[in-house]
């Protein structure tokens, strides 16, 4: 790839954004950066795996928070020397990191292989079942967690420092974003999109469809595991409730409000969610209209509804339309080169499975 090809407006914007985010703590290293932004970046890093699996593989996974959780639990069990619960293996923190990621990736591979012959609603249900089983496992197996979870978890140096942890979240998010975008152009990524569009055709072209699905799922699990490590370092503890159905759905909602077919949407959706979650109660007189903190889900639900009505492609979809509407004096290639052979394209010929 030449430097010229790398210098697209999108990449330039990303570079500027990353530099700004990295420079931000110099101005303000308080609550907004180390709480709001770090949390949004971590949620975004989990949600982007949902976006990847959905947009490139046609697999809507409800197991991504589980993989984040597995990494967190494994790290806690391996790194702690003594604690109220868990195995307290007391391994060096970076060994614990490798162990956590290895276990997460292996579990993702196995669960992915098991789900690789299902699609659509069946895949969704199966991953939901994974999530429920994972939750139950950690809630009931007291040797590794139990309902109270694993507490007093300390991040490896230098990430005990909140600003450094924020830096890590920025850098890893940028890397994941670039990697997922690049994968779409590789043989593997193209094949995965082929599997999404028509698995039968992919088989008859010579591709191993279940293996492609399994590997994509494994990759998604690995990245979610990385996010899970950041999460457990940031919170200092992890309990089964944090990977129960409620939070699982929140991660899905984040991916959807951001825009399920845009990688950047994952972080945008996460930011909107965390801002709402954090600041709704400081809106003046909010409790007067009956919105006590336990009803914030209603606000979030209404936001989701509003965004979905405005744009099924989420927030990034809205931004795209605004951008095209304003600067879009030059019509896109496609609108010039309309199909000429038949005036009304026949939809049944698209070959897309229901």
């Amino acid at each position: 790839m030449t430097a010229r090809r790398l210098l697209t407006p999108a990449n330039a914007a990303l570079a500027v954004l990353v530099v700004l985010l990295l420079a931000l703590p110099a101005i303000n290293s308080g609550f907004f950066v180390t709480f709001v932004l770090t949390q949004a970046l971590i949620y975004g890093l989990i949600a982007v795996t949902i976006v990847f699996l959905t947009s490139h593989g046609g697999m809507i996974s409800l197991a991504q928070l589980l993989f984040a959780g597995i990494a967190g639990f494994m790290f806690g069990n391996a790194a702690l020397e003594s604690g109220a619960r868990g195995l307290n293996l007391g391994w060096p923190p970076w060994v614990a990191v490798l162990f956590a990621l290895a276990v997460t990736t292996a579990v993702a591979f196995l669960l992915g292989a098991l789900a690789s012959r299902t699609t659509g609603i069946y895949f969704l249900m199966l991953t939901l079942v994974y999530g429920v089983i994972g939750y139950t496992f950690f809630a009931q197996v007291v040797t590794v967690s139990g309902p109270g979870g694993v507490t007093s978890i300390v991040a490896p140096e230098p990430f005990t420092d909140r600003v450094n942890l924020y830096y890590a979240a920025v850098v890893l998010s940028a890397l994941a974003y670039l990697a997922f975008r690049a994968i779409g152009r590789t043989n593997f990524g193209l094949a995965l999109q082929g599997v999404r569009d028509d698995p039968v055709r992919m088989s008859s072209l010579g591709f191993n469809v279940p293996l492609h699905r399994t590997l994509a799922f494994t990759l998604g699990g690995f990245v979610a595991g990385v996010a899970g490590l950041l999460n457990v370092w940031w919170r200092g503890q992890i309990d089964p409730a944090s990977i129960s159905i409620g939070p699982t759905l929140i991660v899905l909602i984040i991916a959807v409000i951001g825009g399920i077919s845009y990688f950047e949407g994952a972080w945008l959706g996460a930011l909107v969610y965390v801002l709402l979650d954090t600041y709704t109660d400081s809106i003046p007189l909010i409790d007067r209209i009956g919105l006590t903190p336990d009803r914030f889900n209603t606000v979030i639900g209404l936001m989701v509804l509003l965004i979905m009505v405005l744009s099924p492609e989420g927030l990034v979809g809205i931004l795209e339309r605004v951008r095209r509407g304003r600067g879009g004096a030059s019509p896109s290639e496609h609108s010039i080169e309309l199909p000429t052979t038949s005036p009304t394209p026949v939809q049944t010929g698209s070959g897309r499975e229901p």
Partner: protein, 260 residues
């Protein structure tokens, strides 16, 4: 190896051998015991009314369907239970009656995937210098199905006819030894049909072609042997001239339609 036009037989080795192939969908016999030998280099057209089992026959050869009974031998290898994904490497390439390309990908990527499917590196995450030649082949195939100026167009934005052209392109780009075309001319204009006939005439002499086609112009121009199917069985087989003269064929398939 040119087919012997007088008898319909060919001198090449058999590349497709179907032995008493039965395909049952519940109680329905889509194929009711089909025997068929196709020799290397042969140009075979399969005719038959709707529901005769033509597509089912292709599905069995391409591996999309495992026959209920009987055996499928390709190039001397028993493939009866071999999954479809192993067949491109045996040189089998097919099109589908309803275009089945990848709507979310560009025309060039569709063709490129077909090449990758046949030649490997399917899970590669890093590009390799050889990928360029595969891209070149995809571009060349796009040119031969008149889609060169659409290489970067998403398939979803193609017209119906262009999707049909791409369907053919995805089959020929792998340079298959055994090419199965399921009604390639449907949805094409008259001019495009003529170009299609020309394209099929240019196929390498040793590649084998099985063609399902309702368009007699295309079928009789391209094929040296015609097989007629009805109700899951082969009811007639012979040269285009023999088939045109066959009374049974007229009765079951052509009805009042005259063969031209």
């Amino acid at each position: 190896m040119r087919p012997d036009t007088t008898t319909g037989a060919t001198s090449g080795d058999p590349v497709v051998e179907l032995r008493s192939v039965v395909v049952a969908f519940g109680g329905l016999l889509a194929l009711g015991g089909v025997d068929l030998d196709v020799a290397q280099g042969e140009r075979l057209a399969i005719l038959g009314p709707n529901g005769a089992g033509k597509t089912t026959l292709f599905n069995v050869v391409a591996g999309d369907l495992v026959p209920t009974e009987g055996s499928v031998v390709l190039k001397g290898v028993d493939c009866t239970h071999l999954p479809s994904r192993h067949r491109p490497r045996l040189g089998v390439g097919r099109t589908y009656q309803k275009a089945r390309s990848f709507p979310g990908l560009a025309v060039g990527d569709n063709l490129y995937l077909a090449v990758v499917g046949r030649h490997g590196r399917q899970r590669a995450l890093l590009p390799r210098s050889g990928d360029h030649s595969w891209r070149d082949r995809a571009a060349a195939a796009a040119e031969s199905v008149w889609l060169y100026d659409r290489l970067d167009t998403r398939v979803a934005d193609l017209s119906h006819g262009q999707k049909r052209q791409l369907e053919i392109g995805m089959a020929i780009v792998t340079e298959p030894d055994v090419l199965l075309l399921d009604e390639p001319a449907s949805g094409l204009s008259r001019g495009e049909r003529e170009r299609l006939t020309g394209l099929l005439d240019e196929l390498a002499a040793d590649s084998t072609l099985l063609l399902i086609e309702h368009d007699m112009d295309v079928a009789f121009k391209v094929a040296r042997r015609i097989v007629v199917m009805s109700d899951g069985k082969i009811v007639a087989s012979g040269t285009p001239e023999e088939i045109q003269a066959n009374a049974l064929v007229h009765e079951i398939y052509l009805g009042s339609e005259a063969l031209t």
